[in-house]
Point group: C3
């Protein structure tokens, strides 16, 4: 016959397991969310990209901060979609912007309502020679490497992107490479909305650095072995 004590012990063990399993499921859900982000961006599905974010979502990109639904639509739909596909929500002839997403480090909060994730992005971008340039100044083809240190939130049971913090690490023209990246290859934002009608809501301060400058995009996690938090020295 089972005592109340034995039963209580097993019940608590099952509750602990349920918490651990829930956390593992969250990690998988967040990986899928971020991976889906990359697959939508590849195909210029900007409406679908914006829908991955929480209502109060935010993007940090090239020194600018885009806030909330309005800010996100300004960046993805008014800016990128206009520049890259002439306003069409989907892929167009001869335009490539593949976003390879990899190397996840995802940490879910104990209450399973928020999470932090580091990912890497590796891009192949450009325009086929048979497609007329839609935007003068855009190089015909380039490599790009970057990092994400993102925040995720669970709203009504669904994981969403709260902060997408993208940091370009380098750009390299296909023909020349990162050893010969011209200065200010992608200029940082210098004006905010509405002065720049497709500009950010705010500017990041301090401004991030751009290759050939380098820095460390702070890790959201402690060192896996020592438990120490990294700080710039």
């Amino acid at each position: 016959m089972t005592t109340a004590e034995e039963f209580g012990r097993l019940t608590r063990q099952v509750a602990d397991l349920a918490q651990e399993v829930g956390s593992l499921r969250d990690v998988n859900a967040i990986r899928k969310l971020q991976h889906a982000y990359g697959y939508y961006l590849d195909k210029c599905l900007y409406d679908e990209v914006v829908d991955l974010f929480a209502e109060s979502g935010e993007v940090r990109f090239m020194g600018g901060v885009f806030k909330g639904r309005d800010g996100l639509r300004r960046l993805y739909c008014d800016r990128f979609r206009q520049n890259f596909t002439g306003g069409y929500n989907g892929p167009v002839y001869g335009f490539l912007l593949d976003h390879l997403i990899l190397q996840d480090i995802v940490d879910v909060a104990a209450n399973r309502q928020s999470a932090l994730g580091r990912f890497r992005c590796f891009m192949q971008a450009g325009r086929h020679e048979s497609k007329p340039a839609t935007r003068p100044g855009l190089p015909s083809q380039w490599w790009e490497g970057g990092l994400y240190e993102n925040e995720f939130v669970r709203e009504s049971g669904v994981w969403k992107i709260k902060v997408l913090n993208y940091r370009a690490v380098y750009h390299g023209l296909f023909e020349k490479g990162w050893a010969h990246t011209p200065a200010d290859f992608v200029p940082f934002f210098s004006e905010t909305f509405p002065k720049d009608p497709v500009g950010p809501d705010a500017l990041m301060a301090p401004k991030p650095v751009l290759w050939p400058e380098t820095d460390v995009l702070a890790f959201h996690y402690e060192h896996p072995v020592t438990g120490k938090r990294w700080h710039a020295t």
Copy 2:
């Protein structure tokens, strides 16, 4: 003392957990299966590649469909192995065909007998200048990006590839890049077996598009936040 009701509730909770844990293990097993596929292909281990498939497995590649054991061996062993290593099952001097596999989105069916998975492939391919060309017309080195939307099946407890659906997104000569990919860089299959002795069992209809044409390889999953299924407009 534990009531039957309390015990029944805990038993059901454990059964639910077992299902969730089983599903998480399946995701890991399927990721490993797909990753192993890439590692075997790198090394021209074509026999090992074919063995990853279910008996009724199928490959969709460059507009052709290769069906069952015979079709798979025709593609991997009679075609690729003959062309790439002169028939040797293993790596050869000066031949590179690395298949980087990443960005998994795996969804396991509720009954845990089948699963769908999107992955990406990024390839470095070519022949070292010190190795004589085995096949005229093959470029000396190129980049390739592609997508998988695969089906997996569990047979006798073991996950296998049921449908490998590979879609090349772009090819780019190392020297020229994707901005200057010649038309029909890799021609689609136009003849079936046995008219083409190493051709597919059937042709895909409609024929997929090839860079600089673009399209969306349909996602097997609903949008992670809105739950909407994407459809071409």
Copy 3:
């Protein structure tokens, strides 16, 4: 009322689940460990890299074996840090060495005290033209692909790298590619410490091969479907 038998059965089921969940958590922890390795190396955080290893950790690299704390510090701090950043523990202007880590196949031992993991590394390396060369002979920019077959160990509950076994698969100058890699692009170690003050503790025997030579870095896992272990023929 619950019988002892029913309760015993549920207890064993929970114990099995706990083992499975523990193993899934281990896989995630080991992926994070290896991914963190790549992120630290990117940023020349060599002290942090060394701290990811077990006390008796070991690195196999370019034909050399570096053993224990002293060997690891000799490789990462005395050799790499001196060569790449002039001794500074952190990123420096104009130096790029991104380590993309992907395609994990991680297998945890039944006792959850050790694990084996295959990963892939894809590198972008070089020096911006505006940065003076710190080391003559280092090419200005190159691609590199490689594999890891690593061993991990749990010490005091924390997963650490026991053996980092890195095998370069190819190098390619950015300007020329892997089709034109010069012979002995990265020479293997030929002298041990202390004759080479930043050399390995031992030389690997047999010496690994280097592109355009090719071979199979043996898989730690059996074939996922046939269960057969791969052997060189």
